[in-house]
Assembly symmetry: C2
Homo-oligomer: 218 residues x 2
Protein backbone atom coordinates (compact mmCIF):
# COMPACT_ATOMS: atom_id res chain seq x y z
CA UNK A 1 0.00 0.00 0.00
CA UNK A 2 2.51 2.59 1.18
CA UNK A 3 6.18 2.61 0.23
CA UNK A 4 8.92 2.00 2.79
CA UNK A 5 9.76 5.70 2.61
CA UNK A 6 6.17 6.72 3.25
CA UNK A 7 5.92 4.31 6.18
CA UNK A 8 9.01 5.86 7.74
CA UNK A 9 7.52 9.33 7.40
CA UNK A 10 4.30 8.09 9.02
CA UNK A 11 6.15 6.62 12.00
CA UNK A 12 8.10 9.82 12.50
CA UNK A 13 4.89 11.85 12.34
CA UNK A 14 3.27 9.78 15.07
CA UNK A 15 6.36 9.84 17.27
CA UNK A 16 6.74 13.60 17.03
CA UNK A 17 3.16 14.82 17.15
CA UNK A 18 1.92 16.79 20.13
CA UNK A 19 -1.48 16.62 21.84
CA UNK A 20 -3.04 18.31 18.78
CA UNK A 21 -1.41 15.78 16.41
CA UNK A 22 0.75 18.51 14.93
CA UNK A 23 4.34 18.23 13.73
CA UNK A 24 6.60 20.94 12.32
CA UNK A 25 8.37 20.33 9.03
CA UNK A 26 11.62 21.15 10.78
CA UNK A 27 11.22 18.51 13.48
CA UNK A 28 10.30 15.90 10.87
CA UNK A 29 13.32 16.88 8.82
CA UNK A 30 15.66 16.44 11.78
CA UNK A 31 14.13 13.15 12.87
CA UNK A 32 14.34 11.60 9.42
CA UNK A 33 17.66 13.16 8.41
CA UNK A 34 16.00 14.40 5.27
CA UNK A 35 16.28 18.04 4.20
CA UNK A 36 13.30 20.32 4.70
CA UNK A 37 12.38 20.83 1.03
CA UNK A 38 12.11 17.07 0.57
CA UNK A 39 9.97 16.74 3.67
CA UNK A 40 7.85 19.66 2.53
CA UNK A 41 7.07 18.08 -0.81
CA UNK A 42 6.33 14.72 0.81
CA UNK A 43 3.88 16.39 3.19
CA UNK A 44 2.05 17.86 0.20
CA UNK A 45 1.74 14.37 -1.22
CA UNK A 46 0.59 13.10 2.19
CA UNK A 47 -2.10 15.76 2.12
CA UNK A 48 -3.31 14.39 -1.25
CA UNK A 49 -3.57 10.97 0.37
CA UNK A 50 -5.34 12.48 3.37
CA UNK A 51 -2.70 11.30 5.79
CA UNK A 52 -2.14 14.85 7.03
CA UNK A 53 -3.75 18.27 6.77
CA UNK A 54 -1.34 20.71 5.16
CA UNK A 55 -1.46 24.50 5.29
CA UNK A 56 1.41 26.75 4.23
CA UNK A 57 3.71 27.87 7.01
CA UNK A 58 1.88 25.79 9.60
CA UNK A 59 2.78 22.49 11.20
CA UNK A 60 1.14 19.53 9.45
CA UNK A 61 -1.62 17.79 11.32
CA UNK A 62 -1.73 14.01 11.30
CA UNK A 63 -5.22 12.79 10.31
CA UNK A 64 -7.07 9.93 12.00
CA UNK A 65 -6.23 7.83 8.95
CA UNK A 66 -2.54 8.77 9.15
CA UNK A 67 -2.50 7.99 12.84
CA UNK A 68 -4.03 4.58 12.29
CA UNK A 69 -1.57 3.68 9.53
CA UNK A 70 1.35 4.85 11.65
CA UNK A 71 0.14 2.82 14.63
CA UNK A 72 0.01 -0.33 12.54
CA UNK A 73 3.64 0.12 11.51
CA UNK A 74 4.69 0.72 15.11
CA UNK A 75 2.71 -2.37 16.07
CA UNK A 76 4.69 -4.42 13.55
CA UNK A 77 7.96 -2.89 14.75
CA UNK A 78 7.35 -3.70 18.39
CA UNK A 79 5.94 -7.17 17.76
CA UNK A 80 9.09 -7.88 15.73
CA UNK A 81 11.37 -6.68 18.51
CA UNK A 82 9.55 -8.91 20.96
CA UNK A 83 9.73 -11.87 18.61
CA UNK A 84 13.45 -11.42 18.05
CA UNK A 85 14.14 -11.32 21.78
CA UNK A 86 11.71 -14.02 22.90
CA UNK A 87 11.92 -16.48 20.02
CA UNK A 88 15.27 -15.88 18.36
CA UNK A 89 17.65 -15.30 21.28
CA UNK A 90 18.47 -11.70 20.46
CA UNK A 91 19.49 -9.23 23.16
CA UNK A 92 17.42 -6.09 23.59
CA UNK A 93 20.11 -3.85 22.12
CA UNK A 94 20.29 -5.83 18.87
CA UNK A 95 16.68 -5.74 17.75
CA UNK A 96 15.75 -2.15 16.90
CA UNK A 97 17.70 -1.94 13.65
CA UNK A 98 16.36 -5.25 12.36
CA UNK A 99 12.81 -4.31 13.34
CA UNK A 100 13.24 -1.08 11.37
CA UNK A 101 13.40 -3.29 8.28
CA UNK A 102 10.98 -6.08 9.14
CA UNK A 103 8.21 -3.61 10.08
CA UNK A 104 7.82 -3.00 6.32
CA UNK A 105 7.09 -6.64 5.40
CA UNK A 106 3.72 -6.89 3.64
CA UNK A 107 2.04 -9.92 5.15
CA UNK A 108 -0.70 -9.65 7.76
CA UNK A 109 -0.38 -13.39 8.40
CA UNK A 110 3.31 -13.04 9.29
CA UNK A 111 2.58 -10.59 12.09
CA UNK A 112 -0.48 -12.50 13.26
CA UNK A 113 1.69 -15.59 13.68
CA UNK A 114 4.26 -13.57 15.63
CA UNK A 115 1.57 -12.17 17.86
CA UNK A 116 0.08 -15.62 18.54
CA UNK A 117 3.45 -17.30 19.15
CA UNK A 118 4.29 -14.56 21.65
CA UNK A 119 0.93 -14.91 23.44
CA UNK A 120 -0.33 -11.45 22.41
CA UNK A 121 2.23 -9.35 24.30
CA UNK A 122 1.30 -5.85 25.47
CA UNK A 123 4.82 -4.40 25.67
CA UNK A 124 8.01 -4.64 23.63
CA UNK A 125 11.47 -5.45 25.05
CA UNK A 126 12.09 -1.76 25.70
CA UNK A 127 8.89 -1.33 27.71
CA UNK A 128 6.96 0.45 24.96
CA UNK A 129 3.31 -0.59 24.58
CA UNK A 130 2.39 -2.56 21.45
CA UNK A 131 -0.64 -1.03 19.69
CA UNK A 132 -3.48 -3.51 19.19
CA UNK A 133 -4.93 -4.42 15.77
CA UNK A 134 -7.17 -1.36 15.87
CA UNK A 135 -4.27 0.95 16.62
CA UNK A 136 -5.25 1.40 20.28
CA UNK A 137 -2.32 1.82 22.65
CA UNK A 138 -2.31 1.13 26.38
CA UNK A 139 -2.03 4.43 28.22
CA UNK A 140 1.00 4.41 30.52
CA UNK A 141 1.91 6.87 33.24
CA UNK A 142 5.66 6.65 32.87
CA UNK A 143 7.71 9.77 33.49
CA UNK A 144 11.38 10.40 32.73
CA UNK A 145 13.64 9.94 35.74
CA UNK A 146 14.88 13.55 35.55
CA UNK A 147 11.54 14.88 36.79
CA UNK A 148 11.73 12.79 40.00
CA UNK A 149 12.70 14.45 43.26
CA UNK A 150 15.45 13.38 45.63
CA UNK A 151 14.31 10.69 48.03
CA UNK A 152 11.80 9.12 45.65
CA UNK A 153 11.98 5.40 44.84
CA UNK A 154 10.68 4.44 41.39
CA UNK A 155 10.58 1.42 39.10
CA UNK A 156 12.28 1.45 35.68
CA UNK A 157 9.51 0.56 33.23
CA UNK A 158 10.78 1.59 29.78
CA UNK A 159 13.55 3.33 27.85
CA UNK A 160 12.99 6.34 25.60
CA UNK A 161 15.91 5.37 23.35
CA UNK A 162 16.42 1.84 22.00
CA UNK A 163 19.68 2.52 20.20
CA UNK A 164 22.40 -0.06 20.59
CA UNK A 165 24.69 2.57 22.14
CA UNK A 166 22.32 3.54 24.95
CA UNK A 167 21.28 -0.02 25.76
CA UNK A 168 24.92 -1.08 25.95
CA UNK A 169 25.41 1.71 28.48
CA UNK A 170 22.68 0.12 30.61
CA UNK A 171 23.98 -3.42 30.01
CA UNK A 172 27.41 -2.30 31.24
CA UNK A 173 25.79 -1.36 34.56
CA UNK A 174 23.49 -4.43 34.68
CA UNK A 175 20.42 -2.21 34.67
CA UNK A 176 17.21 -3.91 33.57
CA UNK A 177 13.55 -3.01 33.20
CA UNK A 178 11.85 -3.61 36.56
CA UNK A 179 14.81 -2.41 38.62
CA UNK A 180 14.06 -0.12 41.58
CA UNK A 181 15.76 3.26 41.32
CA UNK A 182 16.20 5.51 44.38
CA UNK A 183 16.98 9.16 43.76
CA UNK A 184 19.74 9.98 46.28
CA UNK A 185 20.37 13.51 45.06
CA UNK A 186 19.94 15.86 42.16
CA UNK A 187 22.57 18.38 41.08
CA UNK A 188 20.83 21.65 40.20
CA UNK A 189 23.73 22.91 38.07
CA UNK A 190 23.62 20.29 35.27
CA UNK A 191 20.63 18.14 36.19
CA UNK A 192 22.75 15.07 36.89
CA UNK A 193 21.42 12.67 39.51
CA UNK A 194 22.89 10.24 41.97
CA UNK A 195 20.85 7.06 41.71
CA UNK A 196 20.84 3.91 43.77
CA UNK A 197 20.00 0.93 41.60
CA UNK A 198 18.49 -1.00 44.48
CA UNK A 199 20.43 -4.14 45.29
CA UNK A 200 22.98 -3.49 42.56
CA UNK A 201 25.02 -0.29 42.68
CA UNK A 202 25.03 3.47 42.99
CA UNK A 203 25.52 5.55 39.86
CA UNK A 204 25.70 9.15 38.72
CA UNK A 205 23.61 9.75 35.60
CA UNK A 206 23.75 12.87 33.43
CA UNK A 207 20.48 14.59 32.63
CA UNK A 208 20.71 13.16 29.09
CA UNK A 209 20.63 9.64 30.56
CA UNK A 210 17.87 10.44 33.06
CA UNK A 211 15.60 11.71 30.28
CA UNK A 212 15.81 8.32 28.59
CA UNK A 213 14.85 6.30 31.68
CA UNK A 214 11.07 6.06 31.98
CA UNK A 215 9.87 5.22 35.46
CA UNK A 216 6.73 4.78 37.50
CA UNK A 217 6.28 5.68 41.13
CA UNK A 218 6.92 2.48 43.09
Amino acid sequence: MYSVVEENYLKALLNLCNADDEVSINDLSKRLNIKMPSVNSMMKRFAEKELVAYESYKPVKLSAKGKKEASMIIRKHRLTEMFLVEKMDFNWEEVHEIAEQIEHIQSPLFFEKMDALLGYPKFDPHGSPIPDKNGKVIKTSYVPLNVCEAGKVVTLKAVADSSEAFLRFLNGRSILLGDQLKVLSKEPFDGSMQIEVVGKSTEVFSELICEKLLVEKA
Copy 2:
Protein backbone atom coordinates in the same frame (compact mmCIF):
# COMPACT_ATOMS: atom_id res chain seq x y z
CA MET B 1 25.07 -3.04 -0.53
CA TYR B 2 22.72 -3.86 -3.40
CA SER B 3 19.19 -2.51 -3.74
CA VAL B 4 16.16 -4.80 -3.52
CA VAL B 5 15.73 -4.37 -7.28
CA GLU B 6 19.33 -5.36 -7.96
CA GLU B 7 19.01 -8.39 -5.69
CA ASN B 8 15.96 -9.54 -7.62
CA TYR B 9 17.84 -9.24 -10.90
CA LEU B 10 20.72 -11.26 -9.40
CA LYS B 11 18.43 -14.06 -8.28
CA ALA B 12 16.78 -14.23 -11.69
CA LEU B 13 20.20 -14.34 -13.38
CA LEU B 14 21.30 -17.30 -11.27
CA ASN B 15 18.02 -19.16 -11.77
CA LEU B 16 18.09 -18.74 -15.54
CA CYS B 17 21.76 -19.19 -16.39
CA ASN B 18 22.88 -22.19 -18.38
CA ALA B 19 26.05 -24.27 -17.94
CA ASP B 20 28.08 -21.34 -19.32
CA ASP B 21 26.44 -18.90 -16.84
CA GLU B 22 24.75 -17.10 -19.73
CA VAL B 23 21.29 -15.53 -19.75
CA SER B 24 19.50 -13.78 -22.60
CA ILE B 25 18.02 -10.34 -22.02
CA ASN B 26 14.72 -11.73 -23.26
CA ASP B 27 14.55 -14.55 -20.71
CA LEU B 28 15.43 -12.16 -17.89
CA SER B 29 12.77 -9.75 -19.08
CA LYS B 30 10.11 -12.46 -19.04
CA ARG B 31 11.15 -13.83 -15.66
CA LEU B 32 11.13 -10.44 -13.96
CA ASN B 33 8.12 -9.03 -15.82
CA ILE B 34 10.21 -6.03 -16.71
CA LYS B 35 10.42 -4.79 -20.31
CA MET B 36 13.56 -5.50 -22.30
CA PRO B 37 14.91 -1.93 -22.51
CA SER B 38 14.82 -1.66 -18.72
CA VAL B 39 16.59 -4.99 -18.35
CA ASN B 40 19.11 -3.96 -20.96
CA SER B 41 20.07 -0.78 -19.14
CA MET B 42 20.26 -2.60 -15.81
CA MET B 43 22.63 -5.16 -17.35
CA LYS B 44 24.90 -2.34 -18.47
CA ARG B 45 24.96 -1.11 -14.88
CA PHE B 46 25.63 -4.66 -13.68
CA ALA B 47 28.59 -4.79 -16.06
CA GLU B 48 29.99 -1.62 -14.40
CA LYS B 49 29.71 -3.39 -11.06
CA GLU B 50 31.32 -6.49 -12.53
CA LEU B 51 28.31 -8.66 -11.74
CA VAL B 52 28.03 -9.70 -15.38
CA ALA B 53 30.01 -9.50 -18.60
CA TYR B 54 28.06 -7.52 -21.20
CA GLU B 55 28.60 -7.53 -24.96
CA SER B 56 26.12 -6.04 -27.42
CA TYR B 57 23.66 -8.50 -28.92
CA LYS B 58 24.97 -11.38 -26.80
CA PRO B 59 23.55 -13.00 -23.68
CA VAL B 60 25.04 -11.55 -20.50
CA LYS B 61 27.38 -13.79 -18.57
CA LEU B 62 27.09 -13.93 -14.80
CA SER B 63 30.52 -13.38 -13.18
CA ALA B 64 31.86 -15.36 -10.23
CA LYS B 65 31.12 -12.33 -8.08
CA GLY B 66 27.56 -12.11 -9.42
CA LYS B 67 27.05 -15.80 -8.80
CA LYS B 68 28.26 -15.54 -5.23
CA GLU B 69 26.02 -12.55 -4.47
CA ALA B 70 23.02 -14.31 -6.01
CA SER B 71 23.70 -17.47 -4.00
CA MET B 72 23.71 -15.52 -0.77
CA ILE B 73 20.28 -14.09 -1.53
CA ILE B 74 18.92 -17.52 -2.39
CA ARG B 75 20.45 -18.80 0.84
CA LYS B 76 18.54 -16.16 2.80
CA HIS B 77 15.35 -16.93 0.88
CA ARG B 78 15.48 -20.64 1.59
CA LEU B 79 16.57 -20.29 5.21
CA THR B 80 13.61 -17.98 5.68
CA GLU B 81 11.17 -20.46 4.14
CA MET B 82 12.49 -23.16 6.43
CA PHE B 83 12.24 -20.91 9.46
CA LEU B 84 8.66 -19.94 8.66
CA VAL B 85 7.61 -23.57 8.32
CA GLU B 86 9.61 -25.03 11.20
CA LYS B 87 9.45 -22.24 13.76
CA MET B 88 6.38 -20.20 12.90
CA ASP B 89 3.80 -22.83 11.93
CA PHE B 90 3.44 -21.80 8.32
CA ASN B 91 2.39 -24.27 5.63
CA TRP B 92 4.74 -24.82 2.69
CA GLU B 93 2.45 -22.97 0.27
CA GLU B 94 2.42 -19.80 2.37
CA VAL B 95 6.12 -19.09 2.69
CA HIS B 96 7.49 -18.20 -0.73
CA GLU B 97 5.94 -14.75 -1.00
CA ILE B 98 7.03 -13.75 2.49
CA ALA B 99 10.55 -15.06 1.86
CA GLU B 100 10.68 -12.93 -1.30
CA GLN B 101 10.59 -9.94 1.04
CA ILE B 102 12.61 -11.16 4.02
CA GLU B 103 15.50 -12.29 1.79
CA HIS B 104 16.34 -8.58 1.42
CA ILE B 105 16.77 -7.87 5.14
CA GLN B 106 20.26 -6.50 5.81
CA SER B 107 21.44 -8.30 8.93
CA PRO B 108 23.92 -11.17 8.82
CA LEU B 109 23.13 -11.90 12.48
CA PHE B 110 19.43 -12.37 11.71
CA PHE B 111 20.12 -15.15 9.21
CA GLU B 112 22.83 -16.71 11.37
CA LYS B 113 20.30 -17.02 14.21
CA MET B 114 17.78 -18.58 11.86
CA ASP B 115 20.37 -21.05 10.63
CA ALA B 116 21.41 -22.00 14.17
CA LEU B 117 17.83 -22.32 15.47
CA LEU B 118 17.04 -24.60 12.55
CA GLY B 119 20.13 -26.76 13.14
CA TYR B 120 21.86 -25.76 9.88
CA PRO B 121 19.35 -27.27 7.45
CA LYS B 122 20.51 -28.40 4.00
CA PHE B 123 17.15 -28.18 2.20
CA ASP B 124 14.18 -25.82 2.21
CA PRO B 125 10.51 -26.87 2.60
CA HIS B 126 10.24 -27.34 -1.18
CA GLY B 127 13.23 -29.67 -1.37
CA SER B 128 15.62 -27.09 -2.81
CA PRO B 129 19.16 -27.12 -1.40
CA ILE B 130 20.19 -24.18 0.81
CA PRO B 131 23.53 -22.72 -0.34
CA ASP B 132 26.14 -22.61 2.45
CA LYS B 133 27.83 -19.41 3.67
CA ASN B 134 30.36 -19.63 0.82
CA GLY B 135 27.64 -20.00 -1.79
CA LYS B 136 28.29 -23.72 -2.31
CA VAL B 137 25.18 -25.75 -3.14
CA ILE B 138 24.71 -29.47 -2.62
CA LYS B 139 24.57 -31.17 -6.02
CA THR B 140 21.34 -33.11 -6.41
CA SER B 141 20.42 -35.65 -9.08
CA TYR B 142 16.72 -34.87 -9.21
CA VAL B 143 14.95 -35.16 -12.55
CA PRO B 144 11.46 -33.98 -13.51
CA LEU B 145 8.85 -36.73 -13.41
CA ASN B 146 8.02 -36.29 -17.11
CA VAL B 147 11.34 -37.85 -18.17
CA CYS B 148 10.60 -41.07 -16.25
CA GLU B 149 9.48 -44.16 -18.16
CA ALA B 150 6.39 -46.26 -17.47
CA GLY B 151 6.98 -48.85 -14.77
CA LYS B 152 9.54 -46.81 -12.85
CA VAL B 153 9.08 -46.11 -9.14
CA VAL B 154 10.60 -42.87 -7.92
CA THR B 155 10.65 -40.70 -4.78
CA LEU B 156 9.31 -37.12 -4.83
CA LYS B 157 12.23 -35.00 -3.57
CA ALA B 158 11.43 -31.41 -4.55
CA VAL B 159 9.09 -29.13 -6.48
CA ALA B 160 10.19 -26.86 -9.32
CA ASP B 161 7.42 -24.35 -8.53
CA SER B 162 6.70 -23.08 -5.02
CA SER B 163 3.74 -20.90 -5.95
CA GLU B 164 0.75 -21.07 -3.65
CA ALA B 165 -1.43 -22.28 -6.57
CA PHE B 166 0.73 -25.28 -7.42
CA LEU B 167 1.32 -26.33 -3.82
CA ARG B 168 -2.42 -26.16 -3.13
CA PHE B 169 -2.88 -28.51 -6.07
CA LEU B 170 -0.56 -30.99 -4.34
CA ASN B 171 -2.16 -30.38 -0.90
CA GLY B 172 -5.56 -31.19 -2.42
CA ARG B 173 -4.22 -34.64 -3.34
CA SER B 174 -2.28 -35.10 -0.07
CA ILE B 175 0.99 -35.35 -1.97
CA LEU B 176 4.12 -34.67 0.09
CA LEU B 177 7.86 -34.67 -0.41
CA GLY B 178 9.12 -38.21 0.21
CA ASP B 179 6.11 -39.90 -1.39
CA GLN B 180 6.78 -42.84 -3.71
CA LEU B 181 5.46 -42.28 -7.23
CA LYS B 182 4.95 -45.18 -9.66
CA VAL B 183 4.62 -44.36 -13.34
CA LEU B 184 1.74 -46.52 -14.52
CA SER B 185 1.60 -45.14 -18.06
CA LYS B 186 2.56 -42.22 -20.22
CA GLU B 187 0.33 -40.77 -22.95
CA PRO B 188 2.50 -39.99 -25.99
CA PHE B 189 -0.04 -37.50 -27.44
CA ASP B 190 0.09 -34.85 -24.69
CA GLY B 191 2.73 -36.15 -22.30
CA SER B 192 0.25 -36.69 -19.47
CA MET B 193 1.04 -39.54 -17.07
CA GLN B 194 -0.94 -41.91 -14.92
CA ILE B 195 0.79 -41.98 -11.54
CA GLU B 196 0.26 -44.12 -8.49
CA VAL B 197 1.01 -42.17 -5.34
CA VAL B 198 2.00 -45.28 -3.41
CA GLY B 199 -0.33 -45.96 -0.50
CA LYS B 200 -2.50 -42.95 -1.30
CA SER B 201 -4.18 -42.72 -4.69
CA THR B 202 -3.83 -42.90 -8.45
CA GLU B 203 -3.77 -39.65 -10.41
CA VAL B 204 -3.48 -38.40 -13.97
CA PHE B 205 -1.02 -35.50 -14.21
CA SER B 206 -0.61 -33.25 -17.23
CA GLU B 207 2.89 -32.75 -18.59
CA LEU B 208 2.87 -29.25 -17.01
CA ILE B 209 2.44 -30.82 -13.59
CA CYS B 210 4.99 -33.60 -14.21
CA GLU B 211 7.67 -31.05 -15.14
CA LYS B 212 7.28 -29.46 -11.71
CA LEU B 213 7.70 -32.69 -9.73
CA LEU B 214 11.39 -33.39 -9.13
CA VAL B 215 12.11 -37.02 -8.33
CA GLU B 216 14.95 -39.41 -7.66
CA LYS B 217 15.12 -43.03 -8.70
CA ALA B 218 13.99 -45.02 -5.66
